[in-house]
């Protein structure tokens, strides 16, 4: 299991000072960092996010993701593959195939600057897909994860048109062999769920896990409301971008380096 929040390496080395008190502080800080990285299961599994099965998702938590486009590997599609595998998607990329996360190339024609980034449901605080849904199927869970309730979805695709990120897909054909944790079927709209089934088990989304497994560490997942969470610390200290910030959606997915 990958911990929810892995501290970035560069943060784990505060400068030591000569006097004794400062050295003690340094050692303490070092112990905390070592605890967070060496025994993540104990620290994060037990304390930080554990929610009993009978307890509903809490509005005190807001799940978010930070994607560093500088670290995102050229041509690497680990996140996409991992998503397809976890959620039982076919991996095809035709106009009628479901894509919950896709790699996007962006290039500034003037400067020639080139970036690759994964684009997925941005889990907005004010999601347009929820605004327009005529049946209430499109919904935001208390912890900020935007989902489609397939029991209520009529497949009208209004949400697909409302989404500025092209994050949603309609299932056009009957499906078989779905994953037990990820029900999907014809006639319903679907999108990235932040791997809600994994998040509820205290794991990170499959894409994040794959990204760090492949050594890129371009994706950071965590609770935006927790000031001690690495994602919140990085967002506080470094510049990050919301895609289409002009729409005031307050996205849960943020990017660095674009």
């Amino acid at each position: 299991m990958i911990p929810h929040e892995k501290l970035p390496v560069e943060d784990s080395n505060p400068a030591g000072k000569p006097d004794a008190a400062a050295r003690r502080d340094f050692l303490k800080a070092g112990a905390v960092v070592a605890g967070a990285t060496l025994a993540p299961g104990v620290l994060f599994y037990g304390v930080a996010h554990s929610r009993p099965a009978e307890e509903p998702a809490s509005a005190a938590v807001r799940w978010g993701m930070l994607i560093d486009t500088q670290k995102c590997g050229d041509g690497c599609k680990s996140c996409v593959t991992a998503c397809n595998e976890e959620n039982g998607l076919s991996g095809k990329t035709g106009p009628q195939d479901s894509q919950w996360i896709r790699k996007v190339d962006i290039r500034n024609l003037q400067t020639g600057a080139h970036h690759e980034l994964p684009m997925l449901c941005q889990h907005c605080e004010n999601p347009p897909c929820v605004d327009v849904c005529p049946t209430g199927a499109s919904m935001k869970r208390a912890d900020g994860i935007v989902l489609v309730d397939r029991h209520v979805c009529i497949g009208c695709r209004y949400c697909m048109m409302a989404c500025p990120y092209k994050a949603r897909s309609l299932v056009h054909e009957p499906l078989t062999e779905q994953k037990p944790d990820v029900p999907r079927g014809m006639g319903c709209v679907e999108a990235c769920t932040f791997c809600v089934q994994r998040v509820d088990r205290d794991e990170t989304p499959a894409c994040v896990e794959a990204c760090s497994r492949d050594g890129h560490n371009a994706m950071l997942f965590g609770n935006l409301n927790d000031a001690d969470a690495p994602i919140a610390k990085v967002l506080k200290s470094m510049a990050s971008t919301e895609v289409r910030a002009d729409l005031n959606l307050n996205t849960g997915v943020r990017y660095q380096g674009i």
Binding site: R51, A53, E54, E55, P56, A57, M139, R141, A142, D143, L147, D149, R150, H151, P174, L175, E177, Q178, K179, P180, D181, P183, R184, G185, M186, G187, C188, V196, D200, R201
Partner: protein, 145 residues
Amino acid sequence: MMAKSLLKKGVGVLLVTVGGLFGLLSVAQAGVEVPSLPPAKVAGKCVEDTDFMRRNHMDLLKHHRNDTMRLGIRTTKHSLKGCVECHASEKSGSVASSKDDFCVACHSYASVKLDCWGCHATKPGKKPADHPAAALGATRAGGEK
């Protein structure tokens, strides 16, 4: 007089028709056998009494689906996944892929259409080791592909 005899005839015809229908009905009842359901993996240990489940499983499932989907409550007692894990048949490994499987056998007998399986998996999958349901027992071989 004329009207009376017509009325009598009418009643006669009606009686014959009703009698005929009853006859047909009894023939039909004799012809359809009560389905024999494949045994559950853990026999005699359903989450509620069998009689209660026969009448109310749909309400439990609907309640649980809303709790899980909307609120994120992930208890396993009334989850559809739990039903599938226990009731998938030995033969097909599924609750709904052949006509003898648990859900299909009873629903076709009762002539009630169900649409769970348009989206939900009919076969149990592999559970992560730390999942609470894993304590109930190992998954059946030949489960999810």
